[in-house]
Structure formats: structure tokens, C-alpha cells
Symmetry: C2
Subunit: 348 residues, 2 copies
């Protein structure tokens, strides 16, 4: 079965990433970082739905300074996403961030890299090296596959940090292409002890991006690879967090609210199950406990299928059989299906 | 990299499943099978969006007879889903179906099984053995895991068919639990030469069901397992087909319409990219050719990220840079972003 890769645990604020820690869910703000109020509002919304680490882009010094005001108003650890300019990294650390995402190889002068690493070490702030298939160094052997090139690029950045005796490292290797991403992570997983941040980059708008992200992240998690995940969608970041938890729940790696089992319906179904499932889904979204609920469309297969659920209903024509932990506890009229089910869920 | 399991090819109507055939996309009707007009209407909608095999439940003799009327009006192969009653199987074959889903072990008398198998053999109709974690025989060793029990159940059904010298077999082993499903398929993949129909059963309503299905199906496909897929959702079956193709496209296993690469946006984005991506997505849904389109939110990373795309746009403040096959071909005003992009897509 699934066996998790052994990785070095690091701390990002009060969240442990790697080792035996739960696989952390993270997202990124989509507001202008300099707009502290909007950014804080978005982060609070994300905290509300279970986001555990948040990252913000730092395009300029004003944004790096703004991180300080943001940090004071939020509960979850804040990571600064920085490209090229080491001064932004120094200011972000000064502003109190809990982590950096920064590729040291993109900072041209060694003493500037050393200055950032020294500040990060002093504040015990980890650095994520984030390699992206779309922006690889030009001097890597062109005969290598994209996945291999990504690993080479990451190893260069890692070496720069290790040479400065810094090991609070996290690594990501993202591509849009799923097989490329999986190959890259599989390769680096055996080469370094650091925790891995996994995800598919620029995966697209909500629907296709959700599917592509799940298709890329799931095989890695199944192989035991991945210590924190970010789903990247062209959508509200709340969608990213919800999707991340659904992925983790699907692989039994995290519990987070309810799990809904429901049948696809077929020519045997004698009730408007799809509408009913929609209503149950909406009402379950507000249920904050780990509970497995089954809504099945026939009394023939329903009971057997629903027996693993905490609360289940198998719906026939006009009547449904209610189950609690696989035991039949009553018969319900069609008009009461959802209300009775939800009452059982609330009382569970 | 991904290497496909070698499986025996079978034919369901004019669709080959297994061997080197493309992984076929299938769905199931949710109408009352006896209502021929509604069922045909739904199948035509599914044909339209690329469904390659359709299955209908056969709860009674009227439904088995109705299959004949359905079959005459549709283009894709029709599979009859039958439980327990061998007479329904005989009538479905009589009605001209292209395949059966039937677990022979659930038909109690051997001569009835023999009658079905003889009719299927005479018409060269394959039989899918469909084991479901929720309805396993009670007499299987309780010390086995659910995945192992599913394999034992499937092997019993397979033996019944093989003993009658029948090998037009396809097998599925579905559970709601993703790791259980993966373990079961991995196990049987090494035990039998038959093509495998893969999927997650009762995976739930659209969003969570899509994620759970992708999480279960992707690792299997990545291991080379799976010759046809069905996504089971409590939703319009069109959603099942669309999701199946998105999964296959994510793993580069099928081409089907456009692929949209788009960035999640961040504090660096200076354009309302999410709305723009939505519009591009809607307009791309009508584009029938395999094309990769990238919509990126910044001129710094955009070009690099979009270079693998056929057509791409990297959007800065007020202006965007248009790319064709990684070459810059023009600069576009913000108000024209979508129209110009779509014109390029159409002309590609």
C-alpha cells in the first residue's frame, strides 16, 4: 500500500512540513500584495476554509514592506514569493514572513545569495526552491528530458544553499504536463532528503485545472511523494484549497469535513437522485466533522454499497431506507429524504 | 515513463478495447431504459461529446426488449447492464446489444450461465465482469483486504466463463475508496490477460466526484493499467464524458479538442485574467481540433511558460504579447485579448 517517503521535517511558522506531519494545504493570494486590506481579507477567507500556509507575490519593495502589515492580521504562516531581487527577500524577512520562495541561482552575485541565506538562517526561515518547466536555465544539456532538466536546475539551487550550510529547504518541480511533473518528482525524491511541495503549474480554469491537478498530484501521493500541496487554478483561491482537501480525502490522507458517496443513477433509479445529492452536498459543506454520508439510488444495491458509510440512505420509489453504520434504522418518505438524512448527520 | 500493460484486445461493436487501441471513453444512460425516446436522446447527446460506448441498465424484460429500438437509432456500441436474471441477458442479445455487463456467479444455475455464454459466443458479444466493493460474496475469507476480496470475486466469475471456453472478457473492480481500487486493479492486472474497465464507483456529485475519479483513475493510467474508463458522477452523463477526456488529456493519452494552460494569477497580475480565461474556456469548448492554448497573467513569466503552447498570450498592463508556437507574433490591446487570441486559434 501507500508508504510515505521519509523527508526531513521543517517548520514554516507553526506548521510542520515533511516528516510525519499531515500533508499541508497551501494557496497563494491573487490580490495586489501592496493592498494590505484586500490581501488580508482574502487570506482570512482562505483560513476559514482550511488553508494552512499562504504565499504572496512580492514584485517590489512596497509589497515587501506591506507583508509586515499583512502578517500581523493573519493566523496562518506567510511565505514571500520572490524573483531575482535579493533586497526584496531581505525586506520580507524583516517584515516577519515565515518562509521564502526563491531560486538562489537566479540571484547573480554570490554575496547577495549569502546575505539572504544568512538572514533566513538567523530567523529560522525555510526557503522553497521552486523550479518551473517554463523557465529553465538555457545552459542545461539539451539532450535531457524536461523532467531531467528540472531536476538538474533544482540540484544547482540546492547546492548553492547547502554550500552556505543551509538546510531549511523545501523543493518543488512543477510543469503543466502531468507525466513530466511526476517523473521530475520521482527523480528528486530519491536524490534529496528535503520535503517536497507538489502541484501542477498553470493547470487552467476551474474544471479542467481541477482534473489536471488531481491527475498529477494523486499518483505522486500514491507513491508516498509530497509533503505539502498547492492546486494552481485560474479561479478564486478558495477553490484551490477545497480541491486540495478533496484530493487528500480521496487518498485517505486527511480528514476534512464530510465525504459524500453517491451513485451516478441509472435506468433503475426511481427518484430524482441528482437533485437530492446536490442539496445534500450543499448542506454537508457546512458540516465540520469527518463523516461519510451515502446517498444511493436503489434499494437493491444501495444498502450494500452504503454499508461503509456513517449515515446512508437507499432510495426506492416513494420510500428510502435509512442506515447508520450499516444498520437499518428506519424507512423515510421521499419528501423527507434530505431533512431526515441531515438530522441524522447532525446528531452523529 | 508510462508503459501500457499488454492486454488482449476485444471488440464491442466497432470499438476495440484493449491491445493498443486508444483508451475508450464510456458512460451509462440515466433515463428509464424502457423510455426509448428519452434514452436515445441522451445517447445522442453523449455521442455528440465523444462518448464511445454506452451502457444501459436492464431491470426487466420490457427494458431488455426496448434495447432493440434504442440500438437502431444510435451510432455507438450499446452494452446491457444485467443483474441476476439470465433471461434478460438472452433478450438483450436478441435485441442486438454489443456487450453485456453481467456477473455470471450471480446467476445461480450453471445451465443458465451456459445458455447466456453460448448466446454471447454465437453473437461474438463480450461480457464485462463488474465487481463492486459494496456487493462482495459473503463466503470470501474475511481476513483478506477489500481489494483482495474483489480480486477473488472477479477470478471466480472469470473461471465460470473460461470453463465454458469463453474469453471475450473485460473486467472491472470498483470501489469508492481510491487506494482499495488501485490495489485491486494492480493485483488483477498481473493475473489475467483481459482488458480492464477502470473507474471509481459512486464517486459522488460533480465536483468531489470528479476529483475522486481523477485521483483514482490517474495513478492506474500512469501505471499503464486501464483500457476503457467510465467516470461515475451523480450528474448529467455528459459531465462523465467530459471529465474522462480531461483525465486522458492530462496524461497525454488522448487528444480531444483544446487544452487550456492558464496561470492562477498572483500579486503580479495586472489584468482580470480569471474572467478572461473563463471566456476563452467557453469559446474553446466549441473548437474541435487538438490545440494547446496558453493564457498567462504576466509578461515576465508568461512567454517562458507559454512557449510549449500552439497559441499563447502573455498579458501585462493594458497590453499583451501574442505567441504562435513560441514565436512572438504581435502586441494586442487589452480590449482585444480574447478576440485576437480566438482568431489565431481558429486560423491555426
Amino acid at each position: 500500500m501507500m508508504q510515505r517517503r521519509v523527508s526531513k521535517a521543517i517548520r514554516i511558522g507553526d506548521v510542520t512540513v515533511g516528516g510525519n506531519a499531515p500533508i499541508a494545504v497551501q494557496s497563494m493570494t491573487k490580490t495586489d500584495t501592496r493592498d494590505v486590506a484586500s490581501t488580508v481579507r482574502q487570506i482570512k477567507e482562505l483560513e476559514e476554509c482550511g488553508c494552512e500556509i499562504i504565499r504572496s507575490a512580492v514584485p517590489d519593495m512596497e509589497a515587501a514592506i506591506a507583508l509586515s502589515g499583512i502578517k500581523k492580521q493573519i493566523k496562518i504562516p506567510l511565505v514571500a514569493d520572490i524573483h531575482f531581487d535579493y533586497r526584496l527577500a531581505l525586506q520580507a524577512i524583516e517584515s516577519g514572513v515565515d518562509g521564502l520562495r526563491l531560486n538562489p541561482g537566479n540571484i547573480s552575485e554570490p554575496d547577495k545569495v549569502a546575505a539572504v541565506v544568512s538572514a533566513a538562517k538567523g530567523s529560522e526561515i525555510p526557503i522553497r526552491i521552486g523550479v518551473n518547466a517554463g523557465s529553465l536555465p538555457q545552459d542545461i544539456d539539451p539532450k535531457l528530458t524536461t523532467a531531467q532538466k528540472m531536476v538538474v536546475a533544482a540540484m544547482r539551487h540546492i547546492k548553492l544553499l547547502e554550500d552556505l550550510d543551509f538546510d531549511l529547504i523545501k523543493v518543488s518541480l512543477k510543469a503543466f504536463d502531468v507525466p513530466t511533473t511526476i517523473e521530475a518528482y520521482k527523480d528528486i525524491a530519491g536524490k534529496v532528503p528535503y520535503p517536497l511541495h507538489i502541484g501542477i503549474t498553470e493547470s487552467g480554469p476551474a474544471k479542467s485545472g481541477i482534473i489536471r491537478s488531481a491527475c498529477g498530484i494523486s499518483p505522486l501521493l500514491y507513491m508516498g511523494i509530497g509533503d505539502t500541496i498547492r492546486v494552481s487554478l485560474s479561479a478564486n483561491p478558495v477553490e484551490e484549497v477545497v480541491t486540495a482537501y478533496e484530493i487528500l480525502k480521496s487518498l485517505d490522507l486527511r480528514h476534512h469535513g464530510a465525504v459524500l458517496v453517491s451513485c451516478p443513477t441509472c435506468g433503475r433509479t426511481e427518484v430524482n437522485l441528482i437533485e437530492m445529492v446536490k442539496e445534500v452536498e450543499e448542506r454537508l459543506a457546512k458540516v465540520d466533522k469527518p463523516i461519510k454520508v451515502a446517498v444511493m439510488g436503489c434499494v437493491v444495491n444501495g444498502p450494500g454499497e452504503a454499508k461503509d458509510a456513517d449515515i446512508g440512505i437507499a432510495c426506492g420509489k416513494g420510500k428510502g431506507v435509512l442506515f447508520r453504520k450499516g444498520e437499518k434504522i428506519g424507512v423515510v418518505d421521499e419528501k423527507d429524504f434530505v431533512d431526515v438524512l441531515m438530522r441524522e448527520v447532525e446528531g452523529f
